[in-house]
């Protein structure tokens, strides 16, 4: 599935690559209306998830925003500056529009809070692989694997923040995640106009993940 980011002027959870992409997009005229046009155009080809900051949603109106998501083929929302304490109003709007509101769990989220977050999430649970902001990192921390093990939920678990290689993606799958979220490295390739490189990377990621899944399944038999 594709995470389609709505650029915001003040993306506090994002590292330099996505910040710069957001600035370029805003300069080029990207706004919420254009965003939903784009989403509508690609909806048929691939499932879409929204990623963006709360003020952009608030400004459009929670119900209108959730409704526009549903109408343009977006099945879930990731809002990185909306911890569970603040999700009430948006969750109600999402339920009404029948789209998922996907919650995030961080490496420093205490166990009792993980349950609280998981209970309030729908679609899948987003596990933040490491402290800090989005952006590629060379290594995958042991704490990431520990986090994947620690989080017990019936929801699928997808891991993001810092994953940039097929090897890292396979590693989180082997550690028990159901998905890997890859952002900055893709945005970086797009910014360089290297669409062939992007396609190649995604193919290799997919292959590595499928292999990890197969090995894991075989291990269970």
């Amino acid at each position: 599935m594709v995470e389609l980011g709505l650029p915001h002027s003040d993306p506090i959870a994002d590292g330099p690559v996505i910040q710069a992409a957001a600035m370029r997009a805003i300069e080029a005229g990207m706004n919420t209306d254009v965003y939903f046009d784009v989403a509508s155009k690609i909806r048929a080809q691939v499932p879409l998830v929204f990623m963006g900051y709360y003020n952009m949603i608030l400004r459009r109106g929670l119900e209108k925003f959730a409704g526009d998501c549903a109408d343009s083929g977006i099945t879930g929302l990731i809002v990185p500056d909306l911890p569970p304490e603040e999700t009430g109003p948006l969750r109600a709007a999402c339920e009404k529009a029948e789209v998922d509101l996907i919650s995030l769990v961080a490496p420093n989220t205490p166990p009792e809070r993980i349950s609280y977050i998981a209970e309030g999430s729908s679609g899948f649970l987003y596990l933040v692989a490491r402290a800090g902001v989005t952006g590629a990192r060379a290594d995958l921390q042991e704490s990431t694997k520990a986090l994947i093990e620690r989080v017990k939920t019936p929801l699928p678990k997808a891991v993001g923040f810092g994953i940039s290689t097929p090897e890292q993606a396979a590693e989180v799958i082997r550690a028990g995640a159901d998905g890997a979220i890859v952002g900055s490295v893709c945005v970086d390739l797009i910014s360089k106009g290297d669409l062939a490189g992007l396609e190649d990377l995604i193919r290799r990621m997919k292959a590595a993940i499928l292999e990890a899944v197969a090995v894991e399944a075989a291990g269970r038999i």
């Binding site: 915001h8 002027s9 003040d10 993306p11 506090i12 959870a13 994002d14 590292g15 330099p16 910040q19 710069a20 600035m23 805003i26 706004n31 919420t32 209306d33 900051y53 709360y54 003020n55 952009m56 949603i57 608030l58 400004r59 459009r60 990185p80 500056d81 909306l82 911890p83 304490e85 603040e86 919650s103 995030l104 769990v105 961080a106 490496p107 420093n108 989220t109 205490p110 809070r113 977050i117 933040v128 490491r130 402290a131 800090g132 902001v133």
Partner: protein, 419 residues
């Protein structure tokens, strides 16, 4: 809500420990519908730990003793309440100035940084990070970092570094490192973003020393309480001088820390009008990306910025606008959530002074009283000159800082003439 709100404004100096315990229930993160914690999950735990440490320490006798000693002997408290005789004569009423310009460092900022840095040190943090616009909060943070032996790094927009070279040098002289911020509009709001990003990865060793009453809970509450010493002193001083409370208290508002500091002493005194003077800049309109002002309480709309629901300057899609004011300390597209609440319930009256009014305040106070005010504080003085009737018979203006830092700005504005 309102009664509760007002009762909640006791402060650390009053010794109302039981009330304090009640109001710092960590679950109370809002002021009416404003405030909250709109931050990434990674910051929720650090914020919780900070809120708990602060509410424990502020009633701890040893902590209070240390803070009190630093405020007296290092910072120079109490600051005087000065009856500005010539200004009073000119305005045909009694106008007092609360002299925060006399505090060490030349502004009220030190009250807050001393308290927060002591909390940080007690929590075992070894590093402070701070944001700064004009450099005043950065300088105060650098001072306290030096004094308490904490590594200090200050995020500052590249544009502001260029505008405020002297303060950059001051911070470096005090042993702090200034980190240029090249993202977004490269000004204060982006420096705050960058500090929050840093903290999301460094919270184990690092305290984020926020400079104003904005940001996620507990910052608006904590910074207001640490600044409330201004209001506590001013209230005692005016009662001693006049035998009664003032008709009004006026303060400039950027994020709102000096205003909340002095207002908090008078919130329960319903007859005292509290006037929040915002930056009118060069006008009340907004361009596509830049507003001509910094007047969020007057002209802003509901939104989320830097972790809080408050009044902000934004475009029709929710992108944050850059603000504008000649006074860098008022050049911020958001405002403290408690102020947004107090304006909404009618307790605080919002007002505007534009660049011209501030420059008039800057010049008149210099000539009339021999006090050069900070351009920020000059907005409150400028408002008083423009609309003296609004002040009543006895007024206090919070003179939040001194104007030495602004001489180059004013000279440049006047094309090298006039001063």
């Amino acid at each position: 809500m309102r009664a509760e709100q007002i009762r909640s404004d006791d402060h650390i100096e009053m010794g109302a420990d039981e009330d304090l315990m009640k109001i710092t229930d960590a679950s109370m993160t809002r002021f009416g519908r404003f405030g909250g914690q709109f931050v990434p999950e990674t910051l929720m735990q650090p914020l919780k730990e900070l809120a708990e440490a602060y509410s424990r320490l502020k009633v701890d006798p040893q902590f209070r003793g240390e803070l009190s000693a630093l405020l007296s002997n290092y910072a120079g408290r109490p600051t005087p309440l000065y009856l500005a005789k010539s200004l009073s004569r000119e305005l045909s009423r009694k106008v007092y100035l609360k002299r925060e310009d006399l505090l060490h460092g030349g502004a009220h900022k030190l009250n807050n940084v001393l308290g927060q840095a002591l909390v940080a040190k007690t929590m075992g943090k070894t590093r402070l990070i701070a944001e700064t616009g004009a450099g005043q909060h950065g300088v105060a943070s650098a001072m306290v970092g030096a004094n308490l032996g904490l590594d200090t790094e200050v995020y500052m927009g590249e544009v502001d570094i260029e505008r405020q070279k002297m303060n950059v040098y001051r911070m470096e002289l005090l042993g702090a490192r200034v980190i240029p911020v090249r993202s977004g509009s490269r000004t204060l709001k982006d420096a705050i973003n960058e500090a929050m990003r840093d903290w999301a990865g460094s919270y184990e060793t690092t305290h984020y020393l926020m400079g104003t009453v904005a940001g996620p809970h507990p910052y608006p509450l904590m910074v207001r309480e640490l600044q409330s010493i201004i209001g506590t002193e001013a209230r005692e001083q005016i009662l001693k001088a006049e035998g009664r409370l003032p008709d009004s208290v006026a303060a400039c508002v950027g994020g709102g820390s000096n205003a909340m500091g002095i207002f908090s002493g008078f919130l329960q005194d319903e007859a005292t009008k509290l006037i929040a003077v915002e930056a009118g800049g060069r006008g009340t309109s907004s361009g596509l990306k830049i507003a001509d002002h910094g007047a969020c309480l007057n002209l802003g709309e509901d939104g989320v910025l830097h972790g809080a629901m408050t009044k902000i300057l934004q475009d029709p899609y929710g992108q944050i606008l850059e603000s504008y004011s000649l006074a860098a300390g008022l050049d911020y597209p958001g405002v403290g959530p408690e102020l947004a609440h107090l304006v909404e319930v009618g307790r605080v009256t919002p007002a505007i002074a534009d660049d011209g009014a501030a420059l008039e305040g800057f010049r008149r106070l210099s000539v009339l009283e021999g006090i050069i005010p900070a351009l920020e504080s000059a907005h409150a003085v400028g408002f008083a000159l423009k609309d003296p009737e609004a002040l009543g018979e006895i007024a206090i203006i919070n003179l939040s800082g001194r104007g030495d830092k602004d001489l180059a700005t004013v000279m440049e504005h006047e094309g090298g003439e006039g001063i």
